[in-house]
Every structure is written in C-alpha cells, then in structure tokens.
Symmetry: none
Subunit: 133 residues, 4 copies
DNA sequence: GTGGTCTAGACCACC
DNA sequence: GTGGTCTAGACCACG
C-alpha cells in the first residue's frame, strides 16, 4: 500500500524562470500531491540526496524544503529512515484543498480580468488549453 | 481623452501575503491596465509621492517600479511634468498581451491539475466565480 | 516605545555543551522573552549580521533561526528593514505561555522523581538555588 | 534480592515528541533508576530483543544504549548471561547524583525565569503539581 | 544508508 | 543597509 513518489507516478520538477525559490516549488508540489490524494499517508518521499541528484540542485536546498514541510506538518521525518507522508485528519485536509483551489481561481480571474478578458473568454482559453509533453 | 488612473477607474492595490515584491505588483498592474486598454496612451500615472501615501509604502519602492517600467518602455517620464503612458506599436502590444494570457492560463492549469482537478472542473469553478465587492 | 533587544536588557547566549542546536537555542530564548513580556510587539530584533558577530557564529545559523520563527509566527520580517516582534492576540499568547510553563514543571518533576527526590525536596532545592552572576 | 526491572516496578518509556534520541532517553532512565536506588547492584536489565519489542523500536537502538552505558560503567554485560547493574563506589555515585540534581534545578530555574516567573512562583507550581495517572 | 547542523561564501532583492 | 536563496563541503546522529 505504501509507495514511493515514483511508484505513484509523481515527478517533481523545477522551473527556474519563474523566480519562485526552488525549495518553495518543491513544497508546493508535494503539498498539492498530498492534498489531491496522489500521495497517501505512509508514502515515502525521495531521499534528500537522490532528489538532489535528480533535480540537479544542492542537497541543502532539498533539506530546507523537507525541513519546512516538517515544521508545517506536511511530512514527518524519521532520521536514519526517511521522510514520509503522515496521517492527517481528513476534514482538515479538505479545508486546505478547497482553500488552495479558491485562491488559484481567484488569482487567475484577477489576472484575466486585469488583462481585459471576460469570464467566458477565460473558459474558452481553458477548453483550448493542451498540456505540453 | 487623456486621463489619470483614478479617472479611468483603476485602483492599484498591494497584497503583502503573496510574497511578490511590491514594485513587481505595481508594474504588473500598470502593464495589465495598458495591455487591456483600460489605460490609454497619454494617460497620466499618479506621482510617486501621492502613490506612496495612498499605498502606505516607501516612495523608493514606487520610484523603482516607475524606473523599471520606463526601462521596459511601459511608461515615459517627462521631468517636471509626470509619468505617462506612451504611444506603442500595436502589434507589439498584442504579442505581449497574448503572451501574458498564455502564461496565466498555463500556470493556472498546472496548479489546477496538481490539485487533482480536471479541465471541466476548472471551467465549472470559473463559471461559479464571483468577484468580491 | 519600541526598542531593540539590548535596550530591553535582553542578552542572547549560546551554550554549545548541551547539544541543543544553536538555532533552537535562539528561537527558545526569543520566544521566552516575548511570552514573558520582556520583548514587546514592535520591538526590533538584532540584525542577522550583528547577532552573528556578537554570538560568533555563522550568519546562516541566525538566518535559519529567524526564518523558522517567521514560519511559526513568532516574529515578522520586513526585508530591507529588519525583524520585528509582531502584534499577537494576547489570549493565544497566554495559552502558549502556560503551556510552556506546564511542560517545564512536568519535565522537571519527572526528572526529580526519577532521581528519587520528593516534591518537598524539590521545593527546598529551588529555595536554595542562587543564580550565577 | 536481585531482580529484573519489571519486578522493581520500573517501566521504560519513550517520548518521540521531544526530539531527544531514543538511546539517550533509555540511558537517562536507567541511570536515574540506579542513582535513585530504584535499581540495585546485581539487578538484571531486559534483553535487547525483548526491550525492542516492548518499545517498538529498532534493536540496534537498544544495543547502542546498552553499549554506551557499558562504556560509562553504568551497566556490565556478561556475554551469554545478560546485562546487569554493577557494584559501584558509593561516593562516586553520590557525586554523580548531586551533579544531575544540580543540573536539573539550574536548567529548570533558567527556563522558569526566562518565562518571567519568580522563584516563589516556581515553588507554588511545584506544590500544585500532580502527576498524571 | 538516512536526515540534521554548521560553516563559508556568493549573489540577489528590497528599502 | 536589510533579509533571502543557493552552493559547497564538513561533520554528526541515528537505524
């Protein structure tokens, strides 16, 4: 039942063009994977060193992301063993999920209307959107 | 025909919770207003001092935003007179506009799908979205 | 009304013999100073660099302490300006204070009774205790 | 006269929330039991395996605790027979006991006064203290 | 092997 | 000047 992220089909990736710090990008992606249910309680995150190699960044940066997530209660670490998704009260998780969705929608709509587009035009753009890759 | 931002009904606002630097928030909002046609060539921006008072931030921050916008060609400063929206080649503007729209849509969809939602659920959320007061 | 820590007569100090990480010692001392009312909302903490010089440790270690305190809501940072004690809802603060006191007492009594001493002997020891000067 | 820890009514327990390593928690509890006279020379400690099962931790961790206690002279291992509390020079034991008591009192008073409490308030808290179940 | 702490030093963003 | 991010590398603690 418990798996690694790769076994769950989750790939972390960094975009250095956005200016968002690497450690925050990692936190957000892990948190989203947990909130959406892609990562489940008990699942193990990649080790700091392996993820550092994979993302081609310094291990300290991963360690910082993992450390902040531990403080935030997003993950639990067992030194000598690894970093895991903890058990969480599900209602609390749902709250946080809708909160993040609301914020994403509100931010998008603010941007869209500042750019002079209507709600229907936004819908049109999303329908036309094709993910790369 | 030429007006101030207030006369055009445009209010700049800062959100300190996002972590996005103030000067970037200002630049983006001004740029979006121009791109969407809410601000028109010849329109005048608020003075650094008045905007600093209104937004309750350091005048240096406004000055930096205006300075960078001038470098980007988004605004033009006439010493002793103020800061204005310059004439711009329209094709260039459209390019920049669609670029910003594309980036907004792609960013939104990346976040939405990371949170486990489908394209149709995103459309639903946008249809339901009502801006606050 | 707002002061620096030195003006409030608060000195941070590190003890490397305990094995407690430097950054945690700093966090605890700052938190205790706030909880006990020695540091008040609006007070400014030493700059990272000055405290690093004073404590003779690496600035990154101070930065880590300040960063974690920011995450915990113990302090608020304004880049370019400094690190400050934020306004806090007083009831929440009081809760946290009694919690810490309770934990200190319970931990002390557990240790004391494991060492074979009675409650009255503990009281006696405290009465006899003289702080080093 | 010689007994096992269980027969003496001594239960080891681990608290993972404190951050204190398991092996240190074990050492401290055993040492305190000896210093306070609850464990007597000749008493037998649980086997590594049985304690590992009881505390639900890795046997290596128990082995490390026992190994360090042996180095410290707190226990003596007789291969094939078990781990025992050795005879100790009594003055040495008393010295170590008062040292630990002093450190406990000093640490408690440092924390208490950092939290803004007086010596008399500390005494009051201890008098009011009731151990749980 | 795992993660945790600290140092050293670079470069950036902001005021 | 302020704090923030990242790299590089050492050493420790834990299982």
């Amino acid at each position: 039942m418990n798996s690694t992220m790769k076994e769950r089909g989750i790939e972390l990736s960094l975009d250095e063009s956005t200016g968002v710090p690497f450690y925050r990008q990692i936190i957000r992606q892990v948190e989203n994977a947990i909130l959406s249910g892609k990562l489940k309680p008990g699942d193990r995150l990649p080790t700091i060193r392996s993820l550092a190699v994979e993302l081609k960044i310094n291990p300290n940066t991963i360690a910082r992301a993992y450390g902040e997530m531990e403080l935030l209660g997003i993950v639990a670490t067992q030194v000598g063993s690894g970093t895991y998704v903890p058990e969480k009260k599900p209602e609390l998780k749902d709250e946080r999920l809708s909160e993040k969705i609301e914020r994403a929608v509100a931010g998008f709509m603010r941007e869209i209307s500042a750019l002079g587009l209507s709600k229907e035009e936004a819908v049109q753009l999303i329908r036309e959107f094709e993910e790369e890759g």
